[in-house]
Amino acid sequence: MKARTILTIGLAGLLGLSAQSCLKSYVEYFDESSSERLNAYLEGLGELLSGETYGWHMSYFIGNEDGEHGGINIALKFGSALDTVRAMSEEDATAAYTSHYVLTTDSGPVLSFDTHNPILHKYGTASSDYYEGQGGDFQFFIIGYDKDSKVIRLKGKRNGKLCEMTPLAEPMEQFNAKMYTINRNFYVSTFEGDIDGKKVTGDIDVRNREFIAYEMEAYGTGEDGETLYDIANTVSVPYILTEKGLRFYEPLEVFGKSLEELDFNFDLPQSDTTFRSAATGVTLKGSIPTDWLPYEFFEGTYSLTYGSFGSTSTINNIVLTPEEKGVNYRVKGLGRQFDLLMEYNIRTGRLELRFQAVLQPGSDEAIVDDDRYIVVLLPWELGPDSGGLWMNPDLGMATRWNGNRENPVFDWVDNGGAKRFATTSFLLFYYDTDETADSPYYDTAEKYSFAGNGGTYQLPYLRTFRKTK
């Protein structure tokens, strides 16, 4: 009896479940399955990408928890037959690289640049210095496409930055050359203006493409009757350069105004230009660094002082002659057996002495010992109690002008090449080119020396750089 009851209850349950299984009624809202529709969407998108005559302009925003790097203009030309893509970046006037792409599905449509391209993967590449890369994505969710404006909106899969692509109206080489020039020559560093009678000032970090605005607040009156201000609020937003000026990653909210784009006349001298927001009517007066100098100013003969204040040494008759015009100078007389290069940074209007392989006098060839050891100028973070060395081409020291055109003297300051390393000094070191070596830091190159009385392979605490003629 008991078993029969259990059987009955079980069957009743089965009846309930079975009856339920047939109660479903659903309406097909689409004639095709979701995967068919997604594939059709991707096929259409593929035709669109490869169908544009001149290709596409990508506003490529970069950044992660380690820092923002703003947006870079990239020109892309998609092929169709073998899924190839050619890329150029505003960071280089002429370099172009071809790799592959695929339109695929991963919780939605995805554009993936899936073989290596030095331009498209530059900021996603990890290293011992940036083990998470620098926030550059190379796989993107396609989050929207506007048929009228042909704007394709993308979101990076790893770092999540929003990017977009629009069709190019001119050949990619032409567009890239134009954006390269704009990018290279943009060096406005500060701005100020007023919004509805309220004072706003700010800085432009051109290296990381970040616009930093300070909402100022009056707090009193100075001795001469001038109004004194303090920073009440700081807002910063990454930007990307455009042909007309710059566009923010997200609206810059200042004193109740929402600024999305600022127009800027790149043809005018940058010390005499104004940022204009067409939508809001806001204008901001731009300024260049107060110690900015043109490339040509630096040609001449110098004397350099270095050392701790108790024992300062001098190297005289250091001659700077143009190497690549507008780019760098050859430095003779700083090294006893070698030449160096100093780079001109147009954005700061300063010369920079950076990590480099020292050159044979009058030659472009590096000095190499034993067919293996390159002699390098190594940035040295020398402090009272400790020191650090770093083989990094971005690191070095820059000249800071005293503002005197008749008797120009420059202080040596860290060039800001890295957040966690401040160069104060240099060493001559052997770089071991043998990749099987435990470390590229082989040994101090004591066989070589800097010029001047008592010059050695060390150049501690660079102080001043005085132009003598």
Binding site: S18, N39, G124, T436
Partner: protein, 297 residues
Amino acid sequence: MKRFVFHTAVILAALSAACACVKDQMSEKSVITVSEKKMNDFDKWLEANFLLPYNIDFKYRFEMNESDMNYFTIPADYEYSIVMAHLVKYLCVETYDEVAGITFTRSYFPKMFFLTGEWEYQNNGTFILGTAEGGKKIFLAGVNLLPQYMNTAEDLNHYYIKTIHHEFTHILNQTIDFPVEFSSITGTSYVADSWSDAPFNREFLQNGFITDYAQHSDTEDFAEMLSEYVTHNQAWWDEQIKKAGEKGHLINAKLDIVRNYMMDAFNIDLDVLRATILRRQEDVFNGYVDLHSITIK
């Protein structure tokens, strides 16, 4: 009687309900469609040289799902991937064909290779050259650095080829475990992640390990022993044993176990394997192997 009728009715109703859906027709068309992949010349070459003969999927195009999301990796370069495919084929796959027979290769060699462009950097300054997963997949990093690391056999082995033999050893170990005696020879000297720190990164030989990484654990030690042995000649090996001093006999004791394991478990003579690898390596550096061709023969 009433109860019997009731039970019978319930049974009949349940059976009829269970059959109620039988008339529904299954659609012949799948709701999931896969877009057709376009194959370039390299894809066709890979199909002819890896997929069809060995059922090996050689993935050179980046797929996020195949990568380790704990690291920030980038895609491999197309041209360097072609070179790497040739190196894997000539120095690894066909080596095992020659030494152990194609059936061995088909049975045990990993069914997937996945290439990426850079090393997998960790936040302690070290980086990963490759990994093996589940006995089926070998992940090879740093393909974009291949041109600078293939000038010498030492470099090529250190960064890539030894890595494949190392990872393949893991796969063999995952198939047939190695004897426990191996683990006891230097069992108290494994240091896990400290292998790259001083003094372990300098004194590994003197501690009875063939490389610094071998100090990580017994499984890594075993894979390092085998992969270092088969990619170096006897003179190099003798030199390491000499440097190891009084602990040199520990390394050789472990080598004996590795040698016996390969013979007993897979009928592979370790010295024949080494001679074959070194001969093929010579072929590569003598230019006898076209590393760039994607012509299907």
